[in-house]
């Protein structure tokens, strides 16, 4: 009896010991693994930091210049503004020919964003849920428009919108930017919609929802983040494009990016003003990027990550 007990105790002790040692080992292994991945060593931050410094240096230089007076910019190279001034920003915010550039840009970008996402939503639903005659060809054709060089379209756009008397209107630029933004929105939204199980649609239809009511009440809230990301990318690609926007506008709808080229005057370049205008164009992107940081790769990859 005693022998049996002893043996059992031994076995239990041995088991406990082995458990202890195995869990100890696995913890150790996990800890090593953690070091191995991501935080490879305590020097993991060196590469990202160097890269970010490389990225920020030119931007810092622009911001630095925007707070300097022109005489300081030209006379000596200073790493920070010795006589900080807000003169450059004051000119932009008080002179209508400057700030209207920002307003024009924002107007056509927002019009474009609304049009692109509104027409892309049903189309993306069709592509993600149904097969239909010529769907693959259509999808490919949309892609080619995203890839088309704007330079090819600059001249025909100018003539097309002249014929309709739309030159120098916001709607002309907004429509022209649909060329690349609608395909982009379709691709991104299709990516997000394919992630929603089809059973949801079927259940809703059985419950007696009509298609428009289902789409607005149930489906759109489900892909809300996708809609946000699509809006952001339409906003962004319309905001950064210049060639078409500049070709289609003369004065009334001229985007800020084109207004910026005016800084050459009789007294030479107004570098401070140019820099201040440039800094202000960075702000919209910098503001919204936080909200899409986890989706930005997906957007650039046309919804395919």
């Amino acid at each position: 009896m005693a022998g049996v007990n002893e043996r059992t105790e031994q076995a239990v002790a041995a088991q406990a010991g082995s458990q202890k040692s195995s869990s100890g080992m696995s913890q150790d292994a996990i800890a090593r693994l953690m070091r191995r991945r991501g935080e490879e060593s305590k020097w993991w931050w060196v590469v990202p930091t160097l890269y970010i410094v490389f990225l920020m240096l030119p931007i810092y230089w622009l911001i630095n210049m925007s707070f300097k007076t022109n005489s300081e910019i030209i006379s000596s190279l200073t790493l920070y503004p010795h006589e900080p001034t807000l003169r450059n920003y004051r000119i932009i915010f008080t002179d209508a020919s400057w700030y209207s550039g920002y307003i024009n840009s924002i107007i056509y970008v927002v019009i474009n964003m609304v049009i692109s996402v509104a027409v892309a939503l049903p189309a993306a639903y069709a592509f993600s849920r149904y097969r239909f005659l010529g769907d693959k060809h259509l999808f490919f054709w949309l892609l080619t428009n995203r890839m088309a060089p704007p330079a090819v379209f600059a001249l025909p756009f100018f003539q097309l919108y002249s014929a309709f008397g739309l030159i120098d209107t916001h709607i002309a630029v907004a429509l022209a930017h649909c060329l690349f933004n609608v395909p982009l929105a379709v691709w991104i939204l299709e990516g997000f919609m394919s992630g929603v199980p089809k059973e949801i649609d079927e259940t809703a239809y059985i419950d007696g929802y009509s298609f428009p009511r289902f789409f607005v009440k149930i489906f759109m809230p489900l892909i809300a983040s996708g809609i946000g990301v699509a809006c952001f990318f339409c906003f962004m690609f319309s905001w950064v494009e210049l060639l078409i926007a500049r070709t289609l506008t003369t004065t009334d709808a001229k985007p800020i990016a084109a207004v910026m080229t005016r800084t050459v005057s009789a007294s030479g370049m107004d570098w401070g003003l140019l820099a201040a205008a440039g800094v202000l164009t960075l702000i919209p992107g910098a503001l919204v990027i936080w909200f899409v940081r986890n989706y930005i790769a997906k957007g650039f990859a046309l919804g395919r990550v």
């Binding site: 693994l33 990202p48 970010i52 931007i59 990027i289």
Partner: protein
């Protein structure tokens, strides 16, 4: 997901079709129209047949711009892709470093393209720019306005600055999707850092890398605004890429016929590349 065959889905696609047709098909028809006609002004057009295309395909100017553009695209890819992979591998996977890295790295992607040009134009100037001034101060003769080599360097560094983050973000998205179990298995097998990269990380990044390479190739093939602002295509013609040449011809000189012919050839090349992109990508999707 299996999709139902339903031709009524066409009604959902119709708005997109109409809109994109308006902004793509009509302009393209205009281009086709011009490419086969000659004009002496006053809206009088004459049939020119394939004259412009023959002229274009025998013009040194077109092939030189094409050559420069191809060289540019290959240099860009050779720098940005390995650099992007390297940075993505060294990015933190968790903690406060992740959002900071993502946001700061994505910032150049959101800068309007001509402001990118302006930033580098100012940054590279020898009198008021930090880069140009420093390079000259340490004894390197650098002037992107006069020297073609320096102009190329500036345009390439600018593009690396502008777009490497795209490769980084895509690769990073691929890397974080690798489950821990893969690394644990590699650990047990005693795999080296290189074999982890070669047999686990690289295959998992294949798909995003494909997208990154093709996007970067296409976008660098139609680059216009950034080099135009920095160098204006100069000095001489040394940084005149296809788009810059085309805009010069179409909007600067209003040579409608030759410009239209060039647009079509350019567009056909891009179409071919898009087709390759699409086929490779859909094949890849099908395999998975």
């Amino acid at each position: 997901m299996d999709k139902t065959w339903n031709n009524k889905a066409w009604f959902l696609v119709l708005p997109v079709l109409v809109l994109v047709a308006f902004s793509a098909v009509i302009p393209l028809m205009t281009v086709v129209n011009y490419s086969v006609q000659d004009t002496f002004g006053n809206n009088q057009f004459f049939w020119a047949g394939t004259e412009w295309f023959e002229e274009l395909l025998h013009s040194d100017r077109f092939w030189a711009a094409m050559g420069r553009n191809l060289i540019f695209s290959f240099i860009i890819l050779a720098i940005e892709v390995p650099l992007g992979i390297f940075i993505a591998l060294n990015m933190p996977r968790k903690g406060w470093g992740v959002p900071v890295c993502l946001v700061l790295m994505a910032l150049p992607l959101l800068v309007p393209w001509n402001v990118v040009g302006t930033i580098w134009q100012v940054f590279g100037r020898t009198d008021i720019g930090l880069l140009g001034y420093t390079l000259n101060a340490i004894g390197i003769d650098y002037n992107y306005v006069r020297d073609p080599f320096d102009a190329w360097m500036t345009v390439i560094v600018m593009d690396v600055w502008h777009w490497t983050s795209l490769v980084v973000l895509l690769c990073y998205a691929g890397l974080v999707s690798i489950p821990d179990a893969f690394y644990q298995a590699a650990k047990i097998d005693g795999a080296s850092r290189w074999s982890v990269f070669r047999y686990i990380q690289l295959p998992k990044m294949q798909r995003v890398l494909l997208i990154a390479v093709l996007l970067r190739f296409m976008d660098s093939f139609m680059i216009y605004t950034e080099p135009f602002v920095v160098t204006g295509g100069g000095p001489g013609n040394s940084t005149t890429f296809l788009s810059i040449d085309l805009v010069k011809m179409a909007l600067g000189q209003f040579d409608l016929g030759p410009a239209a012919a060039m647009s079509l050839v350019y567009f056909l090349i891009v179409l071919l590349l898009s087709w390759v992109f699409y086929t490779v990508m859909t094949n890849y999707d099908a395999e998975r």
